[in-house]
Amino acid sequence: MGAPDLSLLRRMRRLVERWGAHPDGRKQPAAGTAIAALPLPPLLTLPLSQHIGAPARPVVGAGARVLAGQLLAEAAGPVSAPVHAPTSGIIRGIGDVAVPHPSGLTGPAILLECDGLDEAVQWAGTDPFALAPAEIARRVAAAGIVGLGGATFPAAVKLSLGQSTPISTLILNGGECEPYLSCDDRLMQERAPEVIDGARIILRAIGGRRALIGVESNKPQAIAALREAAAGFDEVTVVTVPSRYPMGSEKQLIAWLTGCEVPAQGRPADIGVVVHNVGTAAAIHRAIRFGEPLTRRIVTVAGGAIRTPRNLEVRLGTPAAALVDFCGGLTETPARLVMGGPMMGIAVATLELPIVKGSGGVLALTAAEAGAGRRVEGPCIRCAACAQACPMGLMPLEMAARIRAGDLAASLDLGLKDCIGCGTCSFVCPSKIPLVQYFNHAKGELAARERNKLKQEAIRELVEARAQRMAREAREKAEAAARRKAERERAKTLGGAQASAQPTREDATA
């Protein structure tokens, strides 16, 4: 080929790329201890919205006895996901409870009182390689599997992509770049064959040719375990990527592994790539091989205020407080409670919140860890650390300055919509400016304006339609009046000139 290999050039570019931050590990000691199973709590709270998309629709009523794995709520739309019973017990009711959501608001949930018997429905497993790709996607959808990396996008939607778009590459995201979290690390170490099998099942579903598993270099044991499990499967490659936040971000991982960039506001599928989290792959493996729906996940319990940080395998719906208790409770009053990772997770006010499909971590951070004392926002000194760290090549300081001045249009020009909200800019800011908060606020404001504009447009159309209707009615009225008048006139003239019996032109046209 005469033309230079652009892909190779892009690969070389990463040698000089310097985006990202290096939040010091903080994954120990949870990462060093094996996953433990958390005992069943007496009551499970299962929110109907554990995924992006419409909340699931309940199919059981209060008082019903259900078995583990039984469908409790069905998907209510194309990007919705069903909810299954994590154990056997009695449905206590369906009501509004506090759910892990940044708004702090409540949401509908099914309350399941566990009977301790843990009786399960008969699951029907099968050989994935005897299934049609569409059937794999259907079963994954039925199992209620969503992205376990935290995005909670229904996994089946991405599996069916292969039927509409040519997909060549599956990327399994084993980056786990969030500090403190090690649930994926432990999963890859302890259940590598499940992950590899999941990768192969997904490959079959999407019709891809190769699977790349990207794992950050700070997880050597996970890499070794995966490599061992992948031996003999030529289509699966385990690749070490640098430990750098946010390497686990979809776009950054794809660029690093393939040398290709997902176009702005595009999707990975646009360049023939599909990304799934390693935990999702393991869940897909279980759903297809054993027919097991998603009713449990691995959660990292960590932070300076936790007595014994560790990873737990938890039934969905378990209150976060039960996890903390199992880890020996708190050593001090935490300055901040976080569900998820410290970089993108949400701060919560209480531990009385259920573990949901997207909860990768329950963190109790001390004042020192959360930097509580120094959290006063200072003026921007234009050090540009944020610009250097932004994985998207944005200029956070400039965008924030425009937003502060109320010029949202200018911040849009600077690429506000390309911001992935990873929080790296806020992390590296010496003035503690909550940059990502500014951007989220501006994005929300723009969305609200957009909605408002559409609303105004709709109102304007209605008003116009009404004016037109009124005009039409007035015209019709006037015409009717004119017609009646004309008829009266004609009747008069006809009455007068009956004898002549001359047909008028109006009669001819009537």
């Binding site: 060549s168 660029a255 540009a384 610009a387 200029m395 400039e398 690429g415 390309d418 806020s426 990502v436």
Partner: protein
Amino acid sequence: MNIVSAPHIHGARPVGQVMGLVMLALLPATLAGFWRFGWPAVYLWLVTVLACVFAEALCVRVAERPAKPVLADGSAVLTGWLLALSLPPWAPWWLGATGGAFAIIVCKHAFGGLGQNLFNPAMAARVMLLISFPVEMTQWLTPLPIGSAGAPDALAALSITFGTIPDGMTSASLLDQTRTAVSRALPIGGELDPLALSLGERAGSLGETGALLLAAGGLFLILMRVIGLSIPAAFLLGLMVPAAIAHFLAPERFLAPLAHLLTGGVMLGAFFIATDYVTSPSTPLGRWIFGLGCGLLSWIIRTWGAYPEGVAFAVLLMNAATPLIDHYTRPRIFGRTRSGNTLTTAAPKGT
């Protein structure tokens, strides 16, 4: 417990710590300056720093904001420190005080305070002083280390800083000599001992003469990742390359590049002034352009300008260009072309 946005941990050095590291990097050259020029230099440094701190406190009080957190960031101390290092070591107290107050009140707070100023306050103040008080600002002094014969003791020095400089103590700096020689079409002086120059054994400003110590401090800042490599490297290149070419073509009319490197405020400018976050570009490419511009303008002003020293003017001129440079050197956004359009899709090559 307040509900706040992610991220929930922070990894940056606070502003005060950044300023502290810069001061630490300045310390060796400053102490060398103190030793070399004696007690009057110490007093001048103190007066200038205090003037800046008082001016900062005043401005913050006028704005009805609490003064303590603002003073704690250390930026006023650093401004005063940098200004003091660029003054003649035996300058009278009012020069430092006026300069310090001007730097903080006019060059910093009139623009809106920390982070808002267009020009580097220390350099703007230096230029103001140079234009307003040309005589006092060019009273160069042959080094007279503390304890050596003729050096004033701590008490006598008070009368120098707060009184008048004794006659016969001043001399011309190397750049002065060169300037005079060139303007009279004489060959430039040959007394150029790189070692003496780099160790600061020459007349010059309080902190500018210890070129090697300043460079060491600058390298420390680069290693500590307080400043980047690009601005200092570009600055030195922008100065050295044209100087080397000119000196090679006409050695009798143009100073050698090494002489340029080791005299005046080059090291201070390249590592401590041009790298000022607030007044330098924030894009990687912009920093190279900015540094090259500073270096080139320094050389041009030194060679053809009306002043022997060009670093302060060069930095100020490039400061003015910073917003423009930033605008035209924005990095490419991920997933977009340089012009801002969405990348056309190209599937990754198979293995």
